[in-house]
């Protein structure tokens, strides 16, 4: 709090695409002010052409993630007082994704990788059948208690150094998604998802640096999900459950 000037805040914001520059804006410093409030204030009062992305403003939608003073964050849940350094904040788009304009980046590649990691749900029942009753206390359901809270904000993807140097790497969010599906008893293609998550660009690339876990705004550990996928892959090789494998093979035939 004491680092913030009592009167105004100096905000450096990235303008343009890759060959852009930082522009500095002065906005009033307020007692309760999130970084998203500041970006909105800049757009409303100083720079109407400023491009950025947000929706809910309360940490539910995962749209407003940006790099604030070098750290990927949800801007709506980041108080200026927590991050300002000597009355200054620097705001850039998320890392590891192509920039579109100003603070908005193209997330298409990020979501394509969810598909590559086998992240599409395929049900086993039709609408005439009763829904599956998943026991909340079952081992597989408990294993993904944290992981299913992911809202696809790409903070982990932006924080991951492996993603930044290896464009094939599917990244923590996609693999975390795969971990939720291989534990989902309603998902028909569990074996396929597991195999895809272990293939080229998959779990084998993770260096267990844990940046995803450190920066996840909801406290998920994709590192743990990736470790779970590796463990499951090894176990599925050592302990062959033939009946289950056959059943899976049958449901997976049309895919």
């Amino acid at each position: 709090m004491d680092a913030v000037s009592p009167k105004s805040l100096s905000v450096r914001i990235w303008r343009g695409k890759d060959d852009g520059r930082f522009e500095t804006y002065e906005v009033p410093a307020r007692d309760n002010q999130t970084v998203l409030d500041v970006v909105t204030e800049v757009q409303r009062r100083h720079e109407p052409a400023l491009a950025y992305r947000f929706a809910c403003r309360v940490g539910v939608c995962g749209s407003c993630a940006m790099t604030v003073n070098g750290v990927p964050r949800w801007t709506c849940r980041t108080h200026v007082a927590k991050v300002a350094e000597a009355g200054e904040i620097t705001i850039e788009p998320l890392r590891n994704m192509p920039r579109i304009k100003d603070l908005a980046c193209d997330m298409a590649g990020f979501f394509d990788k969810w598909q590559k990691a086998g992240g599409r749900f395929t049900g086993t029942r039709n609408r005439a059948e009763p829904p599956a009753a998943v026991d909340p206390a079952s081992r597989k359901r408990v294993a993904v208690d944290a992981a299913i809270e992911c809202i696809n904000c790409a903070v982990c993807y932006s924080a991951c150094d492996v993603v930044s140097w290896n464009e094939e790497y599917l990244g923590p969010a996609a693999l975390n998604r795969a971990w939720t599906l291989v534990n989902d008893e309603r998902h028909a293609l569990r074996r396929t998802t597991l195999d895809l998550a272990m293939e080229q660009g998959g779990c084998g690339n993770c260096h267990t640096q844990g940046s995803c876990m450190r920066h996840c705004p909801v406290g998920i550990s994709p590192t743990e999900s990736i470790a779970g996928l590796k463990r499951m892959s090894l176990l599925s090789f050592l302990v062959r459950d033939h009946a289950a494998a056959d059943a899976l093979a049958k449901t997976e035939e049309p895919a």
Binding site: W165, N166, D195, M198, E199, Q200, G202, C203, G204, K230, S233, L234, F237
Partner: protein
């Protein structure tokens, strides 16, 4: 071999190497504590099927395990193409296998 296959091969060979390395180190410490010479050690291992099996397995596991790791390092740290990296790793594995097989032969047969 698929990435998943390589991952499994590396994990399983590590599982083997763990105890093998420990026994290998323990035996070295035990054998040389009273100044046993290389010649005396070789005289004891000569013709031993047990040591032949032990080090045979050791060499096999090492020549599977190490090249997979080297392949990852090369892929991440050099601009070499995937095919070149695979070939270099396979060569390295074959090199370890030949070198190791020669050593095992020397310990139990030569």
């Amino acid at each position: 071999m698929s990435e998943r296959g390589l991952f499994l091969a590396q994990r399983l060979s590590a599982l083997l190497l763990g105890p093998l390395v420990l026994v290998h180190l323990a035996v070295i410490l035990y054998a040389v504590r009273n100044g046993l010479t290389a010649g005396e050690i070789l005289a004891r291992t000569h013709g031993s099927a047990g040591w032949g099996l032990f080090y045979g397995l050791f060499v096999l596991a090492a020549s599977v395990h190490a090249p997979i790791g080297v392949r990852n390092v090369l892929a991440e740290w050099t601009p070499l193409s995937k095919g070149t990296v695979d070939a270099l790793a396979a060569l390295f594995g074959a090199f370890l296998l030949v070198l190791g097989a020669r050593a095992v032969f020397a310990v139990v047969m030569a």
